[in-house]
């Protein structure tokens, strides 16, 4: 199948004289008042790995959705190998030779791998023939798949493999990947880069969306940078530094975190988790097995790991959303709290920021002040007797707005009307302003743009410096290395020993996240 595509030079550095695979000119897409894409020009050549860089909301996904036919541009043209085309749907895109790997995978959990693959093809092929092709492509590219497994039983890395193989079966000339490494371990990401390099050498063009600058510099040939829906630059990332790329993306220097390791005098143990063990809650759940660690006042302990290795269960047990089997499995501020509810744990000085902003950390259709009351009614002065003190709740909203630069239209809007980054600043700020003795936060900057992420990370560091204990569950290794004092890795419901961050390399961390060194689980 690879023979169909013109071969390119070794490094995949494309000759400029070549006809581009795809060239967009003046693409405009509006959603109501918002101009998501404003006169975008983009050119991708054969054999090229082309990065599309930008913050959240810069218009990257909108642009590729137009290339894949999921959205129609309001104006502008798309040329495919020199010919003007109208791509009126994904099927049309596939016919041209465009394949796409989605950020939130477009897979079907209750179907098998083979069925998932068949759904992305245009039909007319027998199941046996498809199975043969599937086996051949996965062998050719070293992307192992078991066709009869159900998708819900697979890991994230395996799921991504399905998406990629599914695209390769269509022998695409252009492969679009939307933030493919966001959910992978470093080792899985390296495997992906090797595959992509090989595809580029076969002459295929790759359009790669990301906001991870180091990846772009390592293996992309060209980068188009978007900001607020406009192209602000095209460059060769191999000749740029992370700082110059970031400046183009954000339009200003990214605030770095200061004061990160003031000497950490070991404070009292604020959170002690002792041999926390739980059964699997359902077929998607993970059983926790003997998880033990301490978090002391003044430090940030990060728990790294690939999603779905027990982080959700751990958070639920610490926050009190799930009661533990034994009372002493979770102790907050020295008191056994394994059977206590969320409110009682808050009264012990704990605060919690779950991963999901909408629907878990905040009730989407309630106003911000109502949301402040929801987590604060037990411990702050938001109640006068049995009555809600509206003015106090509004004061909390104002304080968070000011302290965390929450941008919103009205004084007290619905939570759902805030952008992701601003709502995250609000839910983190709401807890931090209560000055908790212990803050447990899951994925504090997940899907948040760099500016908001910097504010949130600085606030976590400041909180720890004031003597609180911070437990941060995160998948973002950059973030962990930036602010954590100690780190532990969770894998398949077990936790590694806690290491000081200085003693941990990202390679070692990757191995731990992938399940190597399981033996050191629980050792301390």
């Amino acid at each position: 199948m690879a023979e169909a595509v013109d071969r390119q030079s070794e490094q995949g550095a494309p000759g400029r004289a070549l006809l581009p695979v795809v060239a967009a000119a003046g693409l405009v897409k509006r959603f109501g008042l918002l101009t998501a894409n404003d006169r975008i020009d983009l050119r991708v050549d054969p054999g090229e790995i082309h990065a599309l860089l930008g913050e959240n909301g810069a218009g990257k996904s909108t642009l590729v959705k137009m290339l894949y036919g999921l959205l129609q541009p309001d104006s502008g043209t798309i040329q495919w190998r020199g010919e003007p085309v109208v791509i009126d749907g994904p099927a049309a895109a596939r016919r041209l030779g465009i394949g796409m790997v989605f950020q939130h995978f477009s897979l079907f959990d209750s179907l098998t791998v083979a069925e998932n693959v068949a759904l992305a093809l245009d039909g007319g092929e027998s199941r046996a023939a498809l199975a043969r092709r599937l086996a051949k492509v996965s062998a050719d590219y070293g992307l192992a798949l078991e066709p009869d497994r159900y998708v819900h039983t697979l890991s994230v890395g395996e799921r991504q493999r399905i998406e990629i193989v599914r695209c390769l079966l269509q022998d695409p000339r252009l492969l679009i990947l939307d933030e493919p490494t966001a959910v992978l371990t470093p080792q899985e990401a390296d495997q992906l880069f090797r595959t992509l390099g090989r595809l580029a050498r076969e002459g295929r063009a790759i359009l790669y969306i990301t906001h991870r600058l180091d990846e772009v510099r390592r293996f992309c040939h060209r980068a188009t940078i978007l900001r607020h829906g406009k192209v602000v630059g095209v460059c060769d990332p191999r000749h740029e530094t992370p700082a110059t790329l970031a400046r183009m993306m954000i339009g200003a220097d990214v605030g770095s975190v200061h004061d990160r390791r003031a000497d950490v005098a070991a404070g009292p143990v604020r959170l002690a988790v002792r041999d926390l063990t739980s059964a699997r809650e359902d077929r998607h759940g993970v059983a926790l097995r003997g998880v033990s660690f301490d978090v002391r006042g003044g430090e940030i302990l990060a728990i790294a790991g690939v999603a779905g290795n027990g982080q959700a269960e751990l958070f639920a047990h610490i926050s009190g959303e799930r009661a533990s089997d034994r009372n002493d499995m979770v102790a907050i501020s020295g008191l056994d709290a394994g059977d206590k509810g969320i409110g009682e744990r808050r009264k012990l000085g704990a605060a919690f920021v779950p991963e999901e902003r909408l629907g878990h950390a905040a009730a989407p259709r309630l106003s911000l002040s109502d949301n402040a009351i929801l987590t604060g009614h037990g411990i702050s002065r938001l109640m006068s007797g049995w009555r809600i003190d509206r003015a106090a709740a509004l004061a909390v909203v104002d304080a968070v707005t000011q302290g965390f630069d929450v941008r919103k239209g009205r004084r007290d809007p619905e939570a759902a009307s805030l952008s992701g980054g601003n709502l995250q600043k609000f839910v983190v700020g709401r807890e931090i302003l209560r000055d908790p003795a212990l803050l447990v936060v899951s994925q504090p900057t997940w899907g948040v743009d760099a500016g908001a992420a910097a504010i949130i990370r600085q606030a976590l560091v400041d909180l720890a410096r004031r003597g609180s204990a911070v437990l941060m569950i995160s998948q973002d290794l950059d973030e962990i290395f930036q602010i954590a004092d100690r780190i532990a890795v969770i894998h398949d419901g077990r936790i590694s020993a806690c290491h000081p961050i200085a003693e941990m390399s990202s390679e070692r961390l990757g191995l731990l996240m992938g399940g190597a060194e399981q033996v050191d689980a629980g050792a301390r």
Binding site: A91, F102, S106, L111
Partner: protein, 311 residues
């Protein structure tokens, strides 16, 4: 014809309308749409089927009219929940209320009229088999259709590409849309199919089961059909079992009540108890099945959620 054969025959007639309606709803729900209006579509099928058959004198026209009525109701539902992205539960309930009212209006002129029961079609040779012959091979077209539909639905869902797309849409409509499948069209066709099946089930009631029209004659069967789909964990084969189990229980309780004089006194329970028994027993049995089979209990993940593609 002995008593046993007679009882089994009545079980078949009691089960067929449930089976037809439940199969239609099963396909609808596998596509991710929850249509609670089965009762309304069914009773409209009964009224229109009877009206058409009585007016034209042709049972075939009656059957077609019953299906058309069910589909018209389904199309109305689809327009609301697919086209206008309305709440499926509210629209389904409204559809039932509308169907019950509208069918009373349509059937008003036909109250007290009577049709000739539809002729049974005997399959040569096979119908001569004792007991099984009359039960299985000397039936009206509805019964044959209902069996054929079970096989068709099972084959369609598991072995065809269209069935795969329908299941995929029920599992994750955003992904299916991203892959270029027409979510709304597939759901529209599924809802129409469900309407045709419910209409057919209603037609069976007024053309075969009791060949006359009575207001509200669906008598809750649409709701039973809905429950059967859930307890059968969205599998056609289990719907067949569930429908016949419920049919057998509902006929059985009538015979048990008739034994009142024969049974010892302590077994003489109020009639309401026996009337309730089929419902309770069916739930217990189907819950036991879906628990025993473990993984099969999962509902289509998108069931009852709305989908509006941005464009």
């Amino acid at each position: 014809m002995d008593l046993a054969t007679a009882i089994i025959l009545t079980v078949v007639t009691a089960s067929t309308p449930l089976l037809l309606a439940a199969l239609g709803e099963l396909v609808v729900e596998r596509s991710g749409v929850l249509n609670l209006g089965v009762e309304g579509m069914m009773v409209m099928g009964a009224a229109c089927g009877f009206a058409a058959a009585f007016t034209t004198g042709s049972p075939s026209v009656g059957i077609l009219a019953a299906m058309a009525a069910g589909m018209a109701m389904a199309a109305l539902f689809a327009g609301l929940v697919l086209g206008l992205v309305a709440n499926q539960v509210a629209c389904g309930l409204a559809l039932t209320i509308l169907g019950l009212g509208l069918s009373g209006l349509i059937g008003q002129g036909f109250v007290g009229q009577k049709l000739e029961p539809m002729a049974k079609i005997a399959i040569p040779l096979l119908s001569g088999i004792p007991v099984l012959g009359p039960v299985l091979f000397r039936q009206d077209p509805f019964v044959y259709t209902s069996f054929a539909l079970v096989g068709f639905a099972a084959w369609f869902l598991s072995a065809t590409r269209a069935g795969l797309i329908l299941r995929a849409i029920g599992d994750n409509h955003a992904s299916a849309h991203a892959l270029g499948h027409d979510v709304l069209m597939v759901r529209f066709l599924a809802v129409l199919f469900g309407g045709a099946c419910a209409g057919l089930a209603g037609g069976y009631l007024s053309l075969v089961y009791t060949p006359f029209w009575v207001t509200g004659m669906s008598a809750g069967r649409g709701w039973i059909a809905l429950a059967l789909v859930v307890f059968a964990s969205w599998r056609p084969g289990r719907v067949l079992f569930g429908a016949y189990f419920f049919g057998a229980m509902s006929i059985g309780q009538l015979h048990l009540q008739a034994l009142r004089g024969v049974l010892p006194d302590f077994l003489v329970l109020p009639g309401q108890f026996w009337s309730a028994l089929p419902y309770a027993a069916t739930i217990v049995v189907l819950v036991a099945i879906s628990r025993a089979r473990g993984r099969g209990g999962a509902a289509p993940a998108m069931l009852g959620t709305v989908f509006a593609p941005d464009r």
